[in-house]
């Protein structure tokens, strides 16, 4: 990353609760991302990965600390300006948020709603423009879903649905991709395809990519930089190659497995059986 690239994300001492009024899950988090960077976020369940992504999408209001996206603090903006800022990022949640009875083409094109007028969105709901349908079909082909364009979402399997949710990223006109556990419903071959598509497309189109992962192996292979969270704080931020076994033990060997009777090696999350050629 060149040092002169604009700062996309700047967090300082960020505290965020998953719901207004709840106890904070992120407890003083510092992070800085520049345009075009690709970062994996790892950590045990409950460490705050999803909350971090929601905060970066401008969907959770921090209870303390500094949160700046694209050089502006979203929660000091008015509602309309904040909506325009939110349109520059797209979050693909772990469970794809697709209405079951909607057609795939419509569900994917919903990612372009910020660029559409109300009239254009009504027209697209009736029938999509040919150029838009082609755009969706290109994204579906890239994710190995070549024959699903006109099907309804509830006719798809879990893995297909997850890839349709990720296809939203490929058609959206955004600067920041936020991806939450993109591999949770995918088989190893599809997982490799998806990670390659996401990282290569983000690189080619100059998008910033933040991706939370449970598979440490994938983070090591596909991302130059990894941020590790534990109990709402950054415990490692640096090159993915620097994540040695000692650090991973410290990251995942939490209080639950602290009893000496449990061998630490068993407490490590099993790495998904991914092909060695992954992301090469």
């Amino acid at each position: 990353m060149s040092l002169s690239a604009p700062v996309v994300v700047e967090l300082g001492g960020l505290q965020v609760a998953p719901m207004p009024g709840a106890a904070p899950v992120l407890k003083g988090l510092d992070l800085r991302l520049t345009a075009g960077e690709q970062v994996a976020v790892i950590g045990a369940s409950g460490a705050g990965k999803t909350t971090l992504l929601l905060a970066l999408a401008g969907m959770l209001r921090p209870s303390a600390g500094r949160l700046a996206l694209f050089g502006q603090e979203p929660w000091t903006l008015g509602t309309a300006a904040r909506q325009r800022q939110r349109a520059r990022a797209l979050l693909a949640p772990q469970v794809p948020p697709l209405p079951p009875r909607q057609r795939v083409v419509t569900a994917v094109l919903a990612a372009r709603l910020p660029q559409m007028s109300l009239w254009a969105s009504l027209r697209t709901l009736w029938t999509p423009r040919v150029a838009d349908a082609e755009r969706v079909q290109r994204a579906l082909v890239a994710l190995d879903l070549p024959d699903k364009l006109w099907l309804r979402v509830d006719r798809l399997s879990g893995g297909e649905r997850q890839r349709v949710g990720l296809a939203r990223l490929l058609v959206a006109d955004v600067d920041l991709w936020l991806v939450d556990e993109p591999l949770s419903a995918l088989d190893p071959a599809r997982a490799e395809l998806v990670m390659r598509q996401l990282t290569e497309t983000a690189r080619a189109e100059g998008r910033t990519l933040v991706c939370s992962l449970h598979q440490v192996e994938v983070a090591r292979r596909c991302f130059a930089r990894t941020v590790a969270l534990r109990e709402g704080r950054v415990v490692y931020d640096g090159p993915s190659s620097g994540l040695d076994d000692a650090r991973l033990q410290a990251l995942y060997g939490g209080a639950l497995f602290a009893s000496p009777a449990t061998p630490v090696a068993e407490s490590l999350p099993a790495a998904a059986p991914l092909p060695q050629a992954m992301c090469r």
Partner: protein, 279 residues
Amino acid sequence: MSAALVASAVAARDPALQRRWLALLAAAVVLWPLLVLAEFQPWTLFDARSLRVTGRFLAQFVPPRHDAEFLALLACETWRTVAIATAGMALAGLIALPLALAMTERLSVSAVGGRMARGPAWLRQAVRACTVVLRSVPELVWALVFVRVVGLGPTAGVLAIAIAYGGMLAKVWAEILESADAAPAQALLGHGAGRLQTGLYAALPASAHELASYTVYRWECAIRSSVVLGFVGAGGLGQQLDNAAKLFAGGEVSAILLVFMALVALSDRVSAWIRRGLA
């Protein structure tokens, strides 16, 4: 360790049990005085005198009147009743859709990730109050008002159904939209889409089934309601029923009631058909 966890969780009593007993007790305590206050005395139904009166009235019902002249009149009035109900429902839908979308808190842009801003929160309360006014006045009263304004005839019935049902549809549609999966709407609002766009692309498709089925059920209610409205001069089968009942023409009453049953059965079929189309 895990055995201890299991034992301690089961040893503690079901934490919801006490609240459930209390709720049951509270329901009984509230209901009993209400039944007394409503003078609910079902045994008077089986009093010998009322049984005799009822029996005589029911005996007149057979056979229903079925001569050609009456059937032609019946068909014409049936068509008019369906037309009143359908036109009233269409207008009610036009009234309800913007109200429902405005009321739904799921579609609040300012509520994403924080608390809803004060302006929109007040606006939602105002819209809610507006639907309360629309539906708290019964359609019969609206019909009486409109009969004064536009004169006797179906127009008064259509307007009365449109207004009263507009308020009801808005309230229930908003509740249906509110109870569907929130994730699709949150994802689009959080990506900077507008309120109406989110309604069209997330909230409405997520609850299309329930919305369609409730709306068809309301159409069925509108048919029954247009009958009552006929009693105050809003036309249709109700006016015929009123005339027949006043003349103690049991055969005509039963023929008209049979038509009602056919219409309700029809709306049942239409509802199932629409739901299958959406499935």
